[in-house]
């Protein structure tokens, strides 16, 4: 009897899932399916799509622009995920462990907010400012010349040798704040007794970081790595505002290629194929991460 009524109760709860589920179908699943179907057609954005089978995917295999953009994505993974996570870890434990103790809670909060600021600033605005800094007659080169290092001045965003690094620098600048804030929130969860004990045993700052902070922060690091890796696969705005994928496609990203074909060449079907591949990669990455994380959790970390 009791079990029965619980089950009936549960059934009642399903009703409350309907609105959310409808929303999910309407704005996530529906468009994904539409996109998948479109990727097998030739369509100009208006008129009737024409079925072309796997032609778009065949074209994709031999498209230098697509493979170039995939190659660049590896760099964007570095600048979206690896470097910001490392910098974020070091900065978070510096602010949490050192600045807060040696100076004040306030100063530590101030730095946290300052590092987070690029996340709040609209990227379009930030992009224009970075454009002024990085263009050949921009602030960066002017400063280099002022301090007598004019020989180091470069055509940062206009020369294929430096453009990818320059765009990556801007991405790191944006991403560090996100990692930092999540890691600092995670740090406040860790039992201070662990640090005290380690300190009493003579562990230095670096040893505490490696032996306590990193293992204890593992769940946060997972979440940050997963979200930023997905963001790396989708990177668009910094490329759009800084270089439009140039010079000569040196900073092209898959999302920008999708945008280019969708809106300017009117190869909507081809754009859909690019974004389908992107989606499969993203989903695959997410699944790998979630499985990995679950295993870690089961091992009882």
């Amino acid at each position: 009897m009791a079990v029965d009524s619980v089950a009936r109760h549960r059934r009642g709860y399903y009703l409350y899932l309907i609105p959310g589920f409808l929303g999910l179908i309407l704005i996530v699943i529906g468009p994904q399916i539409a996109n998948f179907v479109l990727s097998f057609t030739a369509w100009k954005g208006v008129g009737t799509p024409r079925w072309v089978g796997a032609q778009n995917y065949q074209r994709l295999l031999t498209d230098d622009q697509f493979w170039g953009s995939m190659h660049n994505t590896l760099f964007y993974m570095l600048s979206m995920t690896v470097i910001p996570v490392l910098i974020g870890l070091v900065l978070a434990s510096l602010l949490f462990d050192y600045v807060r103790d040696q100076f004040s809670e306030r100063l530590s909060s101030f730095f946290r907010a300052a590092f987070y600021l690029p996340q709040i600033l609209p990227l379009t605005v930030a992009g224009v400012l970075w454009g002024w800094i990085l263009n050949p007659v921009g602030v960066a080169n002017a400063i280099l010349k002022m301090v007598g290092l004019g020989a180091l001045a470069q055509n940062w965003i206009g020369d294929a040798t430096y453009a990818l690094a320059a765009v990556s620098l801007v991405i790191v600048w944006v991403q560090v704040g996100y990692c930092l804030v999540v890691f600092m929130a995670g740090l406040s969860r860790i039992d201070p007794a662990l640090y005290e004990a380690a300190q009493l045993d003579g562990a230095g700052w670096w040893q505490r970081l490696v032996a306590i902070t990193v293992p204890m922060l593992a769940p946060e690091i997972f979440v940050v790595a997963l979200t930023t890796l997905i963001a790396a696969l989708k990177v668009f705005a910094p490329v759009f505002v800084l270089t439009q994928g140039g010079p000569d496609d040196a900073t092209l990203a898959p999302s920008y290629l999708t945008y280019f074909h969708f809106f300017t060449t009117q190869r909507v079907g081809y754009a859909a194929a690019v974004s389908t591949v992107q989606m499969i990669l993203t989903l695959g990455l997410a699944v790998i991460f979630l499985v990995f994380q679950q295993r870690q959790a089961e091992r009882g970390v």
Partner: protein
């Protein structure tokens, strides 16, 4: 308040409601354009719209300022929906106006052309980009849009710097390079260039047009044959030569048009090749020196065209008002007004134009149009070619592409589009 006055108030209010022209007010005229509010077109069109409002006090005029990108990117989808306005400015060319015309989203203007008397202002040369056939290719077919101004690419030059250096306005390509040499010898980079932006590909096309004849331009713009790369090869070789001699700098790959035009307006570079859309900016912002324009010396064709089109969507609720507005813009009054705002007009009254910038630009445009020398823009034939030319142009300028490779790469994209049309 006494109850009597309350009654009177209610009665009065009801009377007012009854008496107000509530039904006539329902007529709303929706109009969009994206020319900047301080551009010659923007100023003129705003004034003309005021006159339209005054002529039709019963109509609510609802103007929305759009951006070029908004309509470039989602224009066809807007025109395909119920959200389309009664009349709007739209980008001319196969990939834009041609596409929506061929999809049946526009009102045919063939009858209006004669009925409204537009045929007395425009000639067939100024209608080339108004006509699109059933495939959306310009040049033939019905009239789908009307342009009320012109535009062309030329070299802007610093008159003071030219006089100081003893350089005269070049009439041939040789004289142009001689002028470059004189400035270069004085330690000045003669030509400002936005390699990552429009001015890069317009310089390239201007140079290609020095080797282009009627057949080449017609084939090229009409996607009629695989690309004959010879004019572009000459242009690419000339550009790399200019780069090697320091007439332009390698840094230009990191500059967009805003950065490059700043090099000109600040007086650092004495020349800048770009379009008449800079006229408003230069008139307003160059205070320290006198400046002028000369057309890049070519046998016949210049980069330029009639301006963007006024189109009337199929679902327009007020096509008559839309036509009346277009007629206003083509009238001598507003053509003259436009030239006085520094714009390029078709039919200004020369006696009425007091602004030398607008007078000169309108006269130069008339010269180019008279010899049928509008070569149009290099990115027109192929959708997405604008970005392709920018990318490959920067490759050429930074030295990762040789002139031959450059031509190969743009030819691949062109021929692909040509074969699959």
């Amino acid at each position: 308040m006494t109850s009597l006055s309350k009654v009177a108030l209610v009665a009065g209010a009801s009377l007012m409601l009854l008496g107000s022209p509530a039904f006539a007010q329902d007529k709303t005229f929706n109009i969009w354009w994206y020319e900047g509010a301080d551009s010659a077109q923007g100023i003129t069109w705003t004034k003309a719209l005021e006159e339209l409002k005054a002529n039709h006090p019963d109509v609510t005029v609802n103007f929305e300022q759009k951006t070029f990108d908004q309509l470039q990117q989602s224009g066809s989808m807007i025109l395909n929906s119920a959200e389309a306005p009664d009349v709007l400015e739209y980008n001319k060319g196969n990939a834009t106006a041609g596409l929506v015309a061929s999809q049946g989203l526009l009102t045919n203007l063939d009858d209006a052309y004669t009925a409204e008397g537009w045929d007395k202002v425009l000639n067939e040369g100024q209608l080339v980009l108004s006509r699109y056939n059933e495939l959306g290719i310009y040049g033939s077919g019905p009239i789908w849009g009307i342009s009320t101004y012109g535009e062309y690419v030329s070299a802007f030059y610093n008159i003071d710097a030219f006089e100081k250096a003893g350089v005269k306005v070049p009439a041939t390509l040789e004289e142009l390079t001689a002028a470059f040499d004189t400035f270069k010898a004085q330690g000045v980079t003669p030509l400002a260039l936005g390699g990552a932006s429009t001015s890069g590909q317009h310089l390239l096309a201007s140079l290609a047009y020095t080797k282009a004849d009627d057949t080449w331009v017609q084939n090229y713009q009409g996607l009629k044959a695989p690309l004959d790369g010879a004019p572009y090869l000459f242009a690419a070789q000339t550009l790399t030569d200019w780069l090697a001699k320091g007439y332009i700098t390698k840094d230009s790959t990191g500059m967009n048009d805003d950065d490059a035009s700043l090099q000109f307006t600040s007086g650092k570079s004495p020349m800048y090749v770009s379009g008449t859309w800079n006229l408003g900016n230069f008139s307003a912002n160059i205070k320290d020196f006198k400046w002028g324009q000369f057309v890049i010396p070519t046998p016949k064709y210049s980069v330029g065209s009639t301006g963007n089109l006024w189109i009337i969507p199929k679902g327009s609720k007020n096509p008559e008002l839309a036509k009346e507005f277009i007629s206003l813009l083509l009238s001598t009054k507003y053509q003259t007004e436009q030239a006085n705002n520094g714009g390029v007009s078709f039919a200004a009254d020369p006696a009425g134009v007091t602004n030398p910038v607008g007078a000169n630009a309108s006269a130069v445009f008339a010269q180019i149009a008279a010899k049928q020398g509008l070569g149009f823009y290099p990115d027109w034939p192929v959708p997405g070619y604008y970005d392709v030319l920018n990318q490959k142009d920067t490759g050429l300028l930074q030295g990762t592409l040789s002139p031959e490779q450059f031509v190969d790469e743009i030819k691949t994209v062109y021929d692909d589009a040509q074969a699959s049309q």
